[in-house]
């Protein structure tokens, strides 16, 4: 059987592609078999099966095979063609400098896949070794991200399981942050914008090809995340914190000279920091372990002491 040999199957599919691409009109199955018959197995059913398999492979590779039902003498027959609007001599008009920039980007950014380099080759560029002393590692492998990207690009809803629950989402954008990928979009059941961590999606993502959505015009991918609860917020509520000399320079660099209230002879400093966001304050303070101490106000100092006592007793 022809398909048992990958070389013969490859040759046959290339010939099928060439035949349909070069034809001035859509061709029926019978016409294709008349011209390529010897390359397909004997018998109508076997030929049909092999032809359908070839068509499926070509479609999966991105060849825009189209079908048309004929009228007239061939009424009811299906004819096959290539949608030349989606497949042809794509010329994006990239300049040499633009192609060079894409090649350099593919050389500098490591995603853990070869898809970026394949894209550059697809565009007619070369895979280059930039020789640069800089690089960026942004892991972006697996099949989930491209499926989500496809849904975003085509404005189609997606369905997936997250935390054991089925979710229907209008996907707006993808963000890589701290080594994780996040999907920002609208949960159509909760009717609210939400961020999902992509690696926590269970199983496959399904694109709903029967409907589309409109992304809000004011959506910006760069601000898709809610404010980090560990970030300081400006407020008039401030704590005075004594910082040991060993870590004082770093803290001053972080907060600025204006935060320094007193500089002590031993190198320690007293600084004022916002404390309205207690999560942020705690995270900042305990990053210095025992090299920082809240001096005032008394209620914040007491709160820190109670946090510590609780940890000593509970753990």
């Amino acid at each position: 059987m022809a398909t048992a040999d990958p070389k013969r199957a490859t040759e046959r599919m290339l010939n099928l592609l060439a035949l349909i691409t070069n034809s001035l009109r859509p061709l029926t199955f019978d016409e294709i078999m008349n011209r390529m018959g010897s390359q397909y197995p004997d018998g109508h059913e076997a030929r049909r099966t092999a032809f359908e398999r070839d068509k499926k492979v070509l479609r999966e590779l991105g060849v825009p095979f189209t079908m048309k039902t004929l009228g007239g003498a061939d009424a009811g027959k299906t004819a096959y063609a290539i949608d030349k609007s989606g497949y042809g001599l794509v010329d994006f008009g990239l300049t040499a400098e633009e192609m060079s920039a894409l090649q350099e980007a593919a050389a500098l950014v490591q995603t853990g896949t070869t898809w970026g380099k394949q894209a550059v080759l697809w565009l007619g560029g070369d895979v280059v070794d930039s020789g640069a002393l800089t690089a960026s590692h942004v892991p972006a492998d697996g099949d989930t991200l491209p499926v989500l990207w496809q849904a975003i690009a085509s404005s189609r809803p997606v369905a997936f399981t997250y935390h054991g629950k089925s979710r229907n989402v209008h996907p707006y954008g993808l963000v890589s942050r701290n080594g994780f990928w996040y999907l920002a979009g609208k949960d159509s059941v909760r009717d609210s914008q939400i961020v999902f961590r992509v690696d926590r999606i269970d199983g496959n993502v399904t694109i709903d090809n029967d409907s589309t959505f409109v992304r809000p015009q004011d959506f910006e991918i760069t601000s898709a995340f809610a404010r980090d609860p560990k970030d300081f917020v400006e407020s008039s509520e401030r704590a005075l914190v004594r910082i040991d000399g060993g870590v004082a320079p770093a803290v001053i660099r972080e907060l600025g000279d204006e935060a320094v209230v007193i500089r002590h002879d031993d190198g320690s400093v007293d600084v004022q920091v916002p404390c309205a966001n207690l999560i942020a304050f705690r995270t900042w303070l305990f990053a210095m372990v025992d090299r920082a101490e809240v001096i005032s106000p008394p209620e914040i100092r007491e709160m820190v002491v109670s946090w510590l006592r609780e940890m000593v007793e509970v753990h």
């Binding site: 290339l14 592609l17 935390h163 320079p249 305990f286 101490e293």
Partner: protein, 317 residues
């Protein structure tokens, strides 16, 4: 070089439908160059191109076939072309192109940002609106460190080591600069240890060029597998409550499993008890270490240590 093994028809076809338009555009390419571009062995490449040269349209006379021939280590294309058309860019490729564009723009020393942006505008037909964002920090000394990697100038730095909560002075020769998981690092020859070390650039507290130079060595940038095989490490098993989930998003974990209530069971490699103390103090009741046994009470010990300071001094001393 590509891995060996039987190649299926779809794989061969996919390769040819990318290679042939690329080749048609160039007319004549050295076999070794083309094999390297497409990460194939020269034997596989020649086999596939010979196969393609036998393909075309019925009745398959010589001028009905793809006009390809091999001559003196070169692959050549004649005037009768076939298979010039490009496949549609796959979702994997288009997505990755968007990732490259977003990430490359943040790389210091990437001087082609304007050309990259104008290329993306032209590619909008296949990439759509830019809806991929790679967040990367921009620490204060990133440009200075990158410049030093290129010039070979030695730098005096003050570096904060979180594991010991100490600052130290070092002279370094920067060899490469890279980002990983949103943070920037330098690989540098370190005078303090006499070894090549990785330093997180946002932990450099002060930097001073020395005016001394070392020869620049252009080695491939080697992005390490953090901690996994470092000496003197503990693998910590911990239970993390949902409100402290920032831990798994801030620090690399060896494994994460989510429980129905949203809490997480994690394994992480820890290189110092001081570092772990900081993390558990910051997370408060959001984390409890369950293994190894000598670190189960790390939060209690860390909290006691800090509490001692509060209880041994008056608030306004």
């Amino acid at each position: 070089m590509a891995r060996r093994g039987p190649r299926g028809a779809a794989e061969r076809l996919r390769g040819l439908l990318v290679m042939l338009p690329w080749l048609m555009q160039r007319q004549s390419v050295r076999i070794s160059d083309m094999a390297r571009q497409f990460n194939m062995s020269e034997a596989d490449l020649v086999e596939d191109l010979e196969l393609a040269s036998m393909c075309g349209v019925p009745p398959y006379r010589p001028f009905d076939l793809a006009d390809l021939w091999i001559d003196d280590e070169y692959i050549n294309v004649g005037p009768n072309k076939q298979f010039e058309q490009r496949l549609r860019l796959s979702a994997h490729e288009a997505f990755t192109l968007s990732v490259l564009a977003s990430a490359a723009d943040d790389i210091p020393g990437f001087a082609q940002g304007d050309h990259l942006q104008s290329a993306l505008i032209k590619l909008q037909r296949v990439l759509g609106d830019n809806m991929v964002d790679v967040e990367t920090q921009s620490p204060e000394f990133l440009d200075a460190v990158t410049d030093a990697a290129g010039s070979g100038e030695l730098l005096n730095i003050v570096y904060w080591t979180p594991a010991r909560n100490e600052e130290s002075q070092r002279m370094v020769v920067v060899r490469s600069v890279f980002s990983d998981k949103g943070n920037w690092y330098m690989s540098a020859d370190d005078s303090a240890s006499g070894e090549r070390r990785h330093f997180r650039i946002d932990r450099i507290r002060a930097l001073e060029p020395t005016g001394q130079f070392s020869a620049v060595t252009r080695e491939p940038v080697d992005i390490p597998q953090w901690f996994s095989d470092a000496p003197h490490t503990d693998t910590v098993v911990a239970h993390v409550l949902p409100h402290a989930a920032w831990i798994v998003e801030s620090y690399p974990c060896r494994s994460i499993s989510e429980n129905p209530d949203g809490s997480l069971d994690i394994e992480m490699v820890v290189s110092s008890e001081h570092w772990l103390s900081r993390m558990v103090l910051r997370a408060g009741d959001g984390i409890s270490v369950t293994s190894p046994s000598h670190l189960v009470d790390v939060a209690q010990r860390a909290a006691s240590q800090v509490l001692t300071r509060y209880e041994s001094k008056t608030a306004s001393s």
